[in-house]
Every structure is written in structure tokens, then in C-alpha cells.
Symmetry: C2
């Protein structure tokens, strides 16, 4: 198994998870920690994205799927390959060199970066072999390698994509309220949206379906629940070439 790794090629995964309760868009990161064997000095103590070498027999998409499964146990989540990072010096700051000395890494490693969209509630971090933790996109910790850059580029891509495609619903539970969708847009884009205009716009979409259900267990007026129908979306959607530049 180990022998099948392509040593200069990896996939890194930016796992976005939205927490409906705290209204926070988070990124799942794993701890990187290394103490000197001799002086017990802490050499490396930060966070990185999950990633792994591409194996010789698998596609890039397979690698990403495998990496996500090992971290979260989840499969079939929305994923997107968004950029390759391959600068010759991307792994060459001192902390990273110390770390790499412990691992079977080529110095010149190209990484194909993916991002995933899912709900934090679907991930159980307790039974996790990595020290994985959610961080709000706006309060990232100290990051190793070029992973801060990768995360920020993923985030830019996500911002753009959520305006033109209904990927926002990948971040929400199957049943959601209109206000939850609005909160999510506001979190991602960092803007305020007028509630009346937003409701009208969303409710008028045929692929947003009002359910015969309301929230339960909330301590105030329970809100109407809706679902998103990918089927209806696909059927009605024909690209309508709106040249806005």
C-alpha cells in the first residue's frame, strides 16, 4: 500500500462545514505537533489541511474521496477540485522542513486542492484518530505549509460559486428555514441581506418546497420548514447567458 504512493503528488482537502446553530462557516483542520527528541523543544505546533499522496492506481477524485472518508467517515459529499498548487518553494519554510524530514515527502510536491461542503453536525470528531478541529473561516489558527493560501482561495471560489449554483444547500440540513439560508449567505459573503426581499426571492423559486412541518423544540415561534429539490432545479435550469461582465 505505502509503496504505491506517488511521492511528488498529493491532494489537500479544504473541508467546509456549516454549523446552523452557531451560524458559523468552519474549516476542519488537523493538528501538527513535533517535539525535538533531544531537547524536548517544541519544533512544530500548528494546524494543516488533511491530505495525502495520490496512489498510483487511483484518480485524483478518488484520492480526495479517500482522504475525506479517513478524516470524517463520510462519503458522497459535494466536492470540487479547484486549483493545483506547485510552486517550487511551497514547502520550504523552516518549520515545514523539520516536519518533512519525518515524512516521505518530496520537497517539490504538487498538490491538487479540493474543497468539500458538508454540515458540521454530520461529523463526529470524538472517534477521530487525527486531532481534528473546526475553525471559523474568519479565525483560522497558525497554519503549516501554504495551507492558509489554499484555504483562502477555496473560500473565494466558494463565494463565487454559491452565487450561481445551489451549492449552499449542501451546507444545510435537509429541512431548513428561510432565515437559516439567509444566515448562511450572510456568513459566507459577509454582507447583510434584507429579509423581506430575500424571503420573496427564495420562496418564489420552484425548487424551494414548503413542507407541512415547522421547527420543533425551539423556545420561540417555530418557523416553517422548506426543502431544496435538486430534481426540479435540474429540470428547470437552462443556462440563460446573461452577459453582465
Amino acid at each position: 500500500m505505502e509503496s504505491e504512493k506517488i511521492l511528488n503528488l498529493s491532494v489537500d482537502c479544504v473541508v467546509f462545514g456549516y454549523d446552523t446553530n452557531t451560524k458559523s462557516l468552519n474549516v476542519l483542520l488537523i493538528k501538527r505537533y513535533l517535539k525535538s527528541k533531544f531537547t524536548s523543544e517544541v519544533l512544530v505546533d500548528d494546524y494543516v489541511l488533511t491530505g495525502y499522496h495520490v496512489l498510483k492506481t487511483e484518480t485524483l477524485d478518488d484520492t480526495a474521496t479517500r482522504v475525506l472518508k479517513e478524516l470524517t467517515g463520510l462519503t458522497d459529499q459535494y466536492k470540487k477540485q479547484f486549483k493545483a498548487f506547485g510552486d517550487p518553494d511551497r514547502l520550504t519554510n523552516p518549520k515545514d522542513l523539520v516536519w518533512i524530514a519525518n515524512e516521505a515527502f518530496n520537497l517539490r510536491t504538487i498538490t491538487i486542492a479540493y474543497y468539500f461542503l458538508l454540515k458540521t453536525e454530520d461529523v463526529n470528531l470524538e472517534q477521530n484518530t487525527f486531532e481534528a478541529k473546526w475553525f471559523p473561516i474568519n479565525a483560522l489558527p497558525d497554519l503549516g505549509f501554504d495551507h492558509e493560501k489554499i484555504i483562502l482561495e477555496a473560500y473565494e471560489d466558494l463565494k463565487e460559486k454559491c452565487l450561481s449554483e445551489p451549492i449552499i444547500f449542501k451546507l444545510l440540513p435537509d429541512k431548513f428555514t428561510i432565515n437559516e439560508v439567509q444566515d448562511l449567505y450572510q456568513s459566507i459573503l459577509g454582507i447583510d441581506i434584507d429579509n423581506r426581499n430575500f424571503r420573496r426571492k427564495l420562496i418564489n423559486k420552484k425548487y424551494i418546497i414548503a413542507l407541512d412541518e415547522k421547527q420543533i423544540g425551539v423556545s420561540k415561534k417555530p418557523a416553517q420548514l422548506y426543502m431544496f429539490s435538486m430534481d426540479i432545479y435540474n429540470k428547470m435550469f437552462s443556462k440563460n447567458y446573461l452577459i453582465s461582465m
Copy 2:
């Protein structure tokens, strides 16, 4: 120099060139031809994208820039890295295997695909060491490797991108007529656009500047010339988060 190649990593370039006269969006391809040494049977006779291995000391962007320069002599053209292709079997059809036997290629090569936007008139194919030729995007020849797939994905990305960013002007001469812009949109998107509505829309953009010039040397009524101002575009442009999904 040769020794610095990363054997399992390449960059392939989809060079889009627009010909204002023939109103054709073209792709620049190079000939791939191989005869058997013994039977003089033609083993390979098709076209491929230009590409080359990434060198150990250069960034991916550098590789793309170098490849374009070697093919066309041009630098400073619009380029975009749009996708990595790395399936284990992407180079394994019989014709490709014959070809690869002649070259220093790993079977499992990952390619980072870029596309370029330029004007066919800027490229001089006469003094070209490759047998390079323009092909209309809708009449591509027989293509080697997975290059047809790569071209079609580049084209999809271009279609999408030209709707939201002013990259269309990279394909046009500095001074252009409104109808030339319309023709270009129609070529790329494969749609008809109402001329009156299009003119109004375009002329109202502050970054489209009417010049004190008309076409010369045309055999009919000469049209008003315009230019695109990237400066004005950048100054006025603030992303206006229009949620359309």
C-alpha cells in the same frame, strides 16, 4: 536542462485564438505524426495540445508561459489554470502508448491544464518549428491523449467566464466595433443576440470608450471604433453579490 524535468508532471495549454475576419474561435494544435521504422506504416497521425514537463525550478505558471512562448513567441497573454487531469489511464490508449515509447514520459503523468486567450492575427505560424495549425472549436481534428476532453472543459470554463468577466476583450484587437464584440459573443456561446439591445448594453458601460476613429479600408460604411479600459473597469467594479442560483 533536460535533466530538470519532473517526469510525471506536465502542463498542457489550450490556446484560444479569435479571428475577427472569419468570426471563428480557434484552438491552436500541433501535429503528431509517427511512421514505423520497419514497415513505414503510419502509426500515429493526429493533433495534440502543446505542453511540456514542469521543470524542477519553475512554478506551474512559469511552465505555461514558457510553453506558449515556444509555440507562438508571445508573452503576457491572458492565461488561466483551470483543471488538473490525472486519471491513471489517461495516456493508455494504443496510439498514445506507441507515441510515449518514443518520449521520456511516465505513463502516470498528471497534467495541469491552462488556457490562453489571444488574437490569431498576433501569431505568425510561418516561422514555427512545430507543425501548428488553427482549428475552429466546432471542427476539431482527431486528437491524441485526453486532449479533446481537456479542450472541451477549457471551452466550458471560457463560456462561463466570459459572462462574468471582461475577458472577451483579450480576444479582440485593441480597437474594435460593437458588432465585432457581438459576433464574438455569438461565436463563443453559440447563440443569437439582438443587435439593438446588445449595442445599448455595451455602449452604456463606462469602460467601453468611443474613439474618434472609424474603420478604414472596409468596402462598406465604416463602423465606429471603441476600446476597452481595464483601468476604468477595475475602478468601478465592486462585486455586487447578485444571488441568482
